[in-house]
Amino acid sequence: MRNDAEKVPARVKGTTLVDIKGLKIEGYSDDKWHPIIKGLDLKLNRGEVIGLIGESGAGKSTLGLAAMGYTKPGCRISAGSVTFDGIDLVNASQQELRKLWGSHISYVAQSASASFNPAHKLMEQVVESATNHGVMDRAAAEADAKDLFKRLQLPNPDTIGGRFPHQVSGGQLQRAMTAMAMSCRPDLIIFDEPTTALDVTTQVEVLAAMRRIVEEFDTAAIYITHDLAVVAQMAHRIMVLRYGNLVEESATRSMLKQPTQDYTKTLWSVRKLGKQESPNDDIVLRIDNVDASYSGIAKVLDNVTVRVPRGRTVAVVGESGSGKSTLARAITGLLPPSKGRINFNGKDLPARLQDRDRDTLRRIQMIYQSADTALNPRQTVRDIIGRPVEFYLGVRGAETDRRIVQLLEAIELTEDFIDRYPGEMSGGQKQRISIARALAADPELIICDEVTSALDQIVQEEILKLLMKLQKEKNLTYLFITHDIATVRAISDEIVVMYKGQVVQQGLKSQVLNPPYPPYTELLLSSVPEMDPDWLTNLLKKREAV
């Protein structure tokens, strides 16, 4: 296992691999060039791992790609130099670059499923760059790929290459992509949010595999992420970026211990939001022994029983495929349960959406993960929020406008937002509008389906604070579906843990988050990365011991 204190100085002595000086990159939109990177320096030594961190739009991916001499379509390098192993990448021809890419520099993208060709087997794609670059012949490349699969701890390393991308899980695919990136033993790998789309339980395995293989081959890496805790495990040095500028740069341990810049400190403090749990015996939603399935094949919900107390937040946690979102669909009537009862306010809810009356519909509202798809791009805020006001409360004209302005105030937006289209707002503002649309119905229960997971951490915190404020003011009940334990800690009173369509555990936050844990809860909680650079090392040791 790695020990930073010993290895970092040794690596700093290594020769410089990547040297970026005064880099400026511009992007073209609305008939103008806008700066994306505003003059950045980056120096990376052989065998060193550097973490780039920042919120979306900070320029971290753009910088990462620039390190391989590539800019996205519509972008250009306007000033500065990028040198890789003594080669000037800014002025290099496409041919020269193509020779480097894949063999000396490789790239691991966020979405492995979008990066693999679904029509070819894994093995064919993994060995492709090695054979194409003439590093080794097909047989040697295949043997090497199997070795890489083994090192990356993929199950059945000898046969897994014969599968198609859709036949392996997301975590396995991400590791296969790492194997593909490693096949030529590159000097530099760029990891662009490689674990962001994965569940925490899977993330641990992928992180461990990536870290081990980068270390074994002494590969330099640029690790791009927005998750501090993840970068703390992976990088020797961290660069914090914001709006295309460098905020702060230092070795991982000192950065975590004592960030010097205010912006970095706010990033660090986000995870400290918390809420005092308070029990309540007044149950507003009662789900009893519910089964549900899509087209009657496999049960997605299996005998689910959940209690939701009034005016409280119940967090539903679990990995993808655990049935969290299906539970929401069953409650809203989009997917009628095949068995069991759902009781709301003392009355059984009709199973099908079509059978529910308007007042019942009004009382249960939903907020979606992605405000981009949840708001109609062709409607103004006035239409989006005004429609439920008119539809449920029967008000018209000036009274509707007055309600809309009140709702905008409630979500802390000014009234001049009323004529904006979703495309004219930021991600956080759009999510606020989604919240206002739910509030417009004056509901009792709001189902929040991963409402913060598409947002940056600072924006996440603002949205969570807003939701908590609204809960206090209006005695709202939240059923909060999430896979993020930090969010759960921040807002929940009670927690429901789901696994493979079953409820593993339901209880007050203090009960669920404290031992003794049922085995799955234990696995889930221990997999959540912590801001301690030794967390992954210690966790792996502990798991090996068991």
């Binding site: 073209y28 519509g74 809203t332 009537g333 989009l334 959406l353 529910r356 308007r358 519909l361 509202q365 939903m366 979606y368 992605s370 798809t373 949840a374 708001l375 109609n376 791009p377 062709r378 409607q379 429609r387 439920p388 539809f391 449920y392 000036a398 406008d401 007055r402 809309i404 302005v405 009140q406 105030e409 009234e415 001049d416 009323i418 004529d419 649309r437 119905a441």
Partner: protein
Amino acid sequence: MTSEPVNIRSIRSRRTVSQNIWRTLKSAPPTAIFGMVVIAFYVFCAAFANWIAPYGEAEIVGKAYQTSSTEHWFGTDQIGRDTLSRVIYGARNTIGIALLTVFISFCIGGVLGIYASVTRGWLDIILSRVVDILMSIPVLIFALMLLAMAGKSVWNLIFILAVLDATRVFRLARNTSLSVAVQDFVEAARLRGEKLPWIVLREIVPNILPPLIAEFGLRFCFVFLTISALSFLGVGIQPPTADWGSMVAESKTLITFGRPQPLIPAAAIALLTVAGNFVVDWFLHKTSGLRDEK
């Protein structure tokens, strides 16, 4: 909350629709402006044919096959009708019939396509397969056959072409609408308890309008060409109604004598098709958010 009157309407500081249209038009490329001017000219001719045309549509005003003169700029046709007047009246007939055909095909194909995409199920399956079958047969040959069976009349022509064209519209409407119908905001509207017409008209249609409008322009060009082709073959618009396709057919032998007469209605057809394509190209480019390659 205080309930003091809030004058929200006054907040609206954005551009009006006409200002937006004007801004968009000003930024249009020359080809699109050319196309729009040409189309406007055609529409003008079609609308005011009665006043512009020097002679009547089927009026015999002189000898047959006269060359151009101050009285008959484009000469006369095989029975002595003024060619210029017939070209002007032809604009009204050909464009009018093509527009009506496309309109009907959009009514059939658009409504069925959107309905199929929203409800799914067996109706969607049956309609989609029927459309596949119809689309596998070349339009011109199929139309010729159907017209031969049903008899030559303007209404038969319009109806047959509209149905054949509706298959293309159905596909486009269904596919674009399907990609919108699965979005969360449509689900949100269903959860709110909205009825089908509201979901279709307020949530889906505004989002699929740009490609449908562009398709309307393209389909118009195709239908217009098909009608001209059918008229040229003698099964389209029937004499004495002036029509460019049949005018080319009637005067086609003159080309062997070096007379430009058949080229005039042919040029009218070509110019309108090119103009239509220019405008549709620009519109598609504009609405799809494509950027010019730099």
